[in-house]
């Protein structure tokens, strides 16, 4: 048997082991494949980080191109290991603070363009020519505005436009989620078909 055929057998056994969860919940077969998956993912992550991050940064950038500034980043990252040193845990907070600050800054820098694009994309003509398109645009406009009303947390919405608007927004959200549920479930079914193809076509050769 070829290596490829062995790989299909291994994939099939792994798929069946994972699906055994559906029949018997947590069981030794599922636990074995779960640990194999977590272990192999961790091993892959370590090798990937060494090959694609640590070695290129040290060999190519620091030694090769003389980018010695990278050492500061490395030191900052390594400070996180102080969380294991009793009495010196506070040093690890420097790295944590940097990560949290970086995340906040990155989000702030890139979010406004996305929001504004969403706003300008909502500028639509309610008299679009034919009835169906106009109706669609009016519905779109109402859903956008009412959903915004739903997500206003500190406005009083016990009566009037805000009451009915936010209720309509909530129903509109549920309709949208129902529609998304259907389409994503179909996508998941295609994934299952892919797994069945591995079992019945590639491994057992029962279908062509």
């Amino acid at each position: 048997m070829s290596v490829e055929q062995w790989s299909f057998i291994f994939k099939t056994l792994s798929i069946l082991a994972a699906w055994s969860y559906l029949v018997k919940g947590d069981n030794p077969v599922y636990t074995a494949v779960e640990h194999f998956l977590v272990g192999s993912a961790t091993a892959y992550g370590i090798v990937y980080t060494i090959q694609n991050q640590i070695v290129p940064r040290i060999v190519q950038d620091i030694i090769g191109r003389g980018k010695w500034g990278y050492i500061f980043g490395a030191i900052l990252g390594l400070l996180i290991y102080f969380s294991f040193v009793k009495g010196q845990e506070w040093i690890a907070r420097i790295t944590m603070g940097f990560w949290i600050g970086y995340g906040a800054g990155y989000s702030l820098a890139y979010s406004p363009p996305v929001f504004l694009t969403q706003v300008t994309d909502s500028f639509i003509n309610l008299r679009a020519g034919d009835f169906a398109k106009s109706f669609n645009n009016i519905l779109y406009f109402l859903v956008v505005v009412s959903t915004l009303m739903y997500f206003a947390f500190t406005l009083k919405k016990d009566k009037g436009v805000l009451y009915y608007g936010s209720r309509f927004g909530r129903y509109a959200l549920m309709v949208a989620f129902g529609s998304a549920y259907g389409s994503i479930t179909m996508a998941y079914l295609s994934l299952i078909i892919g797994q069945l193809t591995i079992i019945f076509r590639d491994t057992l050769h029962l279908i062509k």
Binding site: W99, P113, V145, F153, A180, I184
Partner: protein, 270 residues
């Protein structure tokens, strides 16, 4: 301006003239937050946040775990450092404090290695604030795997083996949303899910007892703490939403009267 244009614009210098309008909106947001926070500091009234059932149910979920003598499972989601994770970690702090007060075991699973020390620090601090530093067990804060589906498989196993009575999934979730929510449901957990991913949130709606939809996640820390300062930031966000809502109405009326809103879009794209 779209993301690609913004990226190009950012390479042109410290101040990108192409992003002037975006900058103005950020300044308005900052100014609004500043003014509202000043009001909160001065003790002036701040409108309360409307009732969010999913957040009200957190105490109930932990209480149920305590009564049943079972642990609580918490995950701050799949994302790395960003808004959803911060919201998830803020809620984790509250959950850890309640769990410490009730003497209930709290299992936290994280996907990102860099999130693990932060989550551990938050839980440790919460136990300290609750006056139970001895009850903190670092082994209950678990980094599982950086790979999406190995994390999912491992959490599935943890839920089945340790049988938590409450499963709290507060953050950003992708294709694993349904798998984890279904596993929690199968194990008989009371489940609270929160997600900002519109392509996956419906799975939480069908499989969880309570779901925080989108932005409700970001109001969580203010809602739970009842801190006027944090509530002030939610008020500021609401003001921005009203501003954007008015802008959408103006743009739509403009497009309906003039046939299109290109002139306004051009103005906002500067």
């Amino acid at each position: 301006m779209n993301m690609a244009q913004a990226l190009v614009a950012q390479t042109t210098g410290i101040f990108a003239p192409e992003m002037t309008v975006d900058f103005i909106f950020v300044v308005i947001l900052f100014a609004t937050v500043f003014v509202v926070l000043q009001r909160a500091r001065a003790g002036l009234s701040i409108p309360p946040i409307r009732k969010i059932p999913g957040l009200e149910a957190i105490d109930e979920a932990i209480g149920r775990s305590t009564e049943m003598g079972k642990p609580v499972h918490y995950s701050p989601g799949m994302s790395s450092f960003g808004p959803e994770l911060y919201a998830g970690l803020a809620t984790l702090s509250y959950v850890a404090k309640i769990a410490a007060q009730y003497d209930t075991k709290l299992i936290v699973t994280v996907r990102r290695p860099q999130v693990h020390p932060v989550a551990a620090e938050i839980v440790k601090q919460a136990y300290l604030e609750a006056g139970r530093p001895d009850a903190y067990n670092p082994d209950d804060i678990r980094y599982v795997s950086d790979w999406q589906f190995s994390y999912t498989a491992a959490v599935l196993g943890i839920i089945q083996r340790e049988k938590p009575a409450a499963n709290l999934m507060i953050g950003y979730w992708m294709a694993e949303a349904l798998v984890l929510a279904e596993a929690g449901s199968e194990a008989g957990c009371i489940q609270i899910g929160a997600n900002t991913n519109v392509f996956q949130i419906h799975f939480f709606i069908v499989a969880c007892d309570y779901t925080l939809i989108g932005e409700e996640l970001f109001a969580a820390s203010a809602y739970l703490s009842k801190d006027p300062m944090l509530t002030g930031t939610v008020v500021a966000q609401d003001i921005m939403k009203i501003l954007f809502g008015i802008l959408i109405i103006i743009g739509t009326v403009w497009a309906t009267i003039a046939g299109n809103a290109d002139a306004l879009i051009e103005l906002l794209s500067r």
